[in-house]
Each structure stands twice: as C-alpha cells, then as structure tokens.
Amino acid sequence: MNPTQWQPTASVDNLKRRAEVLAQIRQFFARRGVMEVDTPVMSHCAVSDPFIDTIETAYRPHFQAEAQVLYLQTSPEYAMKRLLAAGSGPIYQMAKAFRNGEYGKRHNPEFTMLEWYRPGFDDQQLMDEVEALVSEVLGDVAISHYSYGELFQHYLGLDPHQADARQLAAVTRQHIEIELDDDDPDTWLNLLMSHVIEPALASRGAVFVHDYPASQAALAKVKTGQDGTEVAARFELFVNGIELANGYHELTDAAEQQARLLKDQRSREQLGLPCRPLEMRLVAALESGMPECAGVALGVDRLVMMALGTSNIRDVLAFPLNRA
C-alpha cells in the first residue's frame, strides 16, 4: 500500500458517466416491470465451476468463537434462481461479485455484475432484450448473430463440436505458443476462442455468439442444433472483441442440475482444486418448480468502459484492487 496513492484511478467525469449508466439500467428495468432484488454477497455455499475461484471470509458469532467459512458470491445466480422458484417473477440485480485471481486490464477481483431473469423467455428473446439494453447505453447498436460452430469454421476451418483434443491441440499450436498438455477439448476450444476468435471479432462491432458446445453448457439447457448435434442454449455478447455478457436458456431439470454440480466437484477433485460446499438448495428449488426462463449476466464495469471508449477497467473503477 502506498499512502500517496489515495486518489481514485477513474476521473470524476468517468464516475459521473458510470452513475448515469447505473441509472439507465435501473430505468430500463423499471419500465419493463422487472423487479430489482438484493441477495446476500456472503453464502454458506460456493460456485461449483472448477475454473472460478471463490474468495473465502470468516464469520464469527463472537470474536473468540471459532470462525465459520462463508463464501463471497462469484455471481448472484444461485440466490436469484431460488427467488424465481419462490415465485418472484422477472427479476434483476446489480451486485458486487468476487473472483479470486482475476486481475488485469479487463478484470478486477471485485466487480459489478448485472444479472437478470425472464420467466417465459428463451435465449433468442433474451438476446433481443440484451440488445435493447446495450443500445440504450451505447447508442443504437446492431448486433450480429453467429453460432459458435460457424465462427470456428470461418476462422479456423474446424468443427468445434466434432474435433477431438488432439486435433484441437494441433490447430492451437499453429496460432499460440504455449506449453500445455491437456486432454479436455474445452481447454483448447477456450484458448482458440480467447486468443484467435475474440481478437478477430474486434473488427465486427457487437456480436452474439450462440449455440456453444454442449460440454460448455454450465447452467444452460442442452438442445439439438440445426444439424442434429447437441449444443448448449447459451450465448455470449462480444463488443469490439471484449466479452460483455453470458446468457442461458436456463436449466430447470433438478436431476440434471444435481448431476452437473457433482460432475464439477469431481473435476475439482481430479484437478486438485478446493472442493467447497455445493449449493444443493438450488437443486431443491428446481425440484419444487422453477419457471422456464432465460437469464443473463453482464459486466457493468465493461459496459461503462465501452460507453467511455476506454480499454482499461481502472478508468471506470474508483479504487481497483491495488488501491482498495
């Protein structure tokens, strides 16, 4: 800590624009009758995704009592789905989310996430609403749509749904210098996506990528795509090559949800990653009947970056990690 670095990294003008964007988002949802909710940042359970590391806190009922580990949310998804199952109707939230180790020009370990859920919508309808919101903040944005498969065909000449790890590794090594040995095709697909396709999308403005590989469904439904292959009902929005939002036609099948949580936990064990309490209340909520819905998470800090035309998240945060 450097006591001379007390000032914010964002200018006051940028912070004013940030405040305007937050107000625009709230107005957008107020007009559309989507309720703002406010779920806890600390939870007894942690995210299952092996590649998202939760920050732990210590809760003590009394200062001498034994500490109980609570987990800072990496997104408000689980809590919001419990509200949906309880009959909340359409909801949104702008929440602080926390992810260990994610620190760079476009990342801060503490960041602001906008997440919303629309009962009765599918991924296509939700993409339309994302486009409306983004257009409200950035001015009219026409967003093009490409499937994940189309992009891999176009830029790399391969079918991401069929290629095996060995083929993908070979293609990756033509584009990226890396020492890596991995038999999970998704590792290579993610590398190609982040190192080759995302930079190429920079010249295409705003782009929705949809129909991800079924293996990258996370909490999305799996559906049968146009050519009969199984794909995830998942989309991402990239603006000038920067990932801005990630949405799903949400999984509502409780048994499948439980299976995916357990599968993530097994991956964590195999990779030697910490195994934290799984959110089984999500499974119970789905069992009791969560409405069919679509949901999306959008990085608010990145949206403000785009509104201001800056490429560094420090320009839109009052105090990033090294000044927090």
């Binding site: 590649f51 994610e102 620190y103 760079g104 990226i176 210098e177 020492e179 982040s194 990258q216 996370a218």
Partner: protein, 187 residues
C-alpha cells in the same frame, strides 16, 4: 535467480525463455467466461530484439533473468569495442557492435548512457533521450533564413547524419532527439 509465477508477471519483468533473457513488454490476464485462466505475454528477446507472444498457464512459473540496467559513462571506442565505466565503482565493461547497435550514432565521450547487463555482460546500450553533438560537415548556411523552409543533411561528430534547417553551420553544436534521430534545436 528467483522463479516468477504467472500471477506475478508484469511489464518490465526480465525472465529466461528458451535460454535467452527476455523483457515482458505487455502482460494480459485472459479468462474466458467459462474455462481456465491464462496469462498472455508479449516478450522481447533482449539479445535478438525479436518481439512475440507466448501464453502461460495460471500456475506456470519461469526463471528470472539476471538482467540489470546500469547508468554508466561512455569512455572510448578502440576500433572494435565500446568501453563504458560505472562512475562510483570505476568498473569498466566493453560492449561489442551487437550490443551497441544504433546507439553508436549518439555516443559522445563522457556522456551518461544506460548499459543493460546480462550475467554481467553488456547486451544493450541506451543513449540519453537528448544529446548535444557538433556538426562536422554540412553545406554553408543561408543568411537570413531562420524561420522556415527546407532542410539539408548534416554530419555530426559521431558520424550520424541528420536533417537540419538551412541556417545551421559547420562547427555548431546541436541538440538531437536520439529516439527519432531528429534535430531539436541549437544547443
């Protein structure tokens, strides 16, 4: 040397890659929405000058390079090597053509320069941003032409040739920007 893990990478860190000392020019944390994190680094090979990109896993570590920048005084050229001295310790080093490279155009005896040492041996020489050098040869100046128009070549005491205004005469001392090789003003 210490090892650095990819979460400690930052601009300016000097590391050994495939046996050569390299400088990190740009470090970017890459994390897809789903999937593992990587660190993408733009590296400059300090021996060859080559700039390229390499991606590291989140737990990967690399060996630091024993590279340091020293402020030194330029002493003389012996016809083959350029000699420099550290003013406090009087330690001297000799740098070859490869290490001195384009900096030789701007080296004036007793000037302060930055010498980059790798395992104690000079691998690069960086002149000050501005140097003052005498014109040893140029066409005669034009009287009255002080404001505008035209330029001409002038050869400086180091052998460097720069474009100067028409009013500059042989024997004058000029201030030059070594980063661009441009004339700035009379000294």
């Amino acid at each position: 040397m210490a090892n650095y893990s990819s979460n400690q990478f930052k601009n300016g860190l000097k590391v050994m890659i495939d046996g050569d000392p390299c400088n990190m020019v740009d470090v970017e944390f890459v994390k897809p929405g789903k999937g593992q994190a990587f660190t993408r680094v733009k590296l400059r090979n300090l021996l060859t000058g080559r700039i390229w990109e390499r991606t590291f896993k989140s737990n990967e570590s690399v060996e630091g390079a024993d590279v340091m920048d020293r402020d030194m005084e330029y002493l003389y050229f012996d016809g083959e090597m350029w000699h420099f001295m550290e003013p406090e310790s009087f330690d001297q080093v000799a740098a070859d053509e490869n290490a001195v490279a384009d900096a030789k155009l701007w080296l004036k005896e007793q000037d302060k320069v930055m010498v980059t040492l790798f395992n104690g041996n000079p691998i690069a020489v960086t002149p000050p941003n501005f140097v003052e050098l005498e014109v040893v040869e140029t066409d005669p100046g034009l009287k009255g032409d002080t404001a505008q128009g035209g330029s001409k070549p002038a050869t400086l005491s180091t052998g460097a040739v720069v474009r100067v205004p028409l009013f500059i005469n042989q024997g004058e001392v000029l201030k030059i920007d070594t980063r661009t090789g441009d004339y700035v003003s009379r000294a």
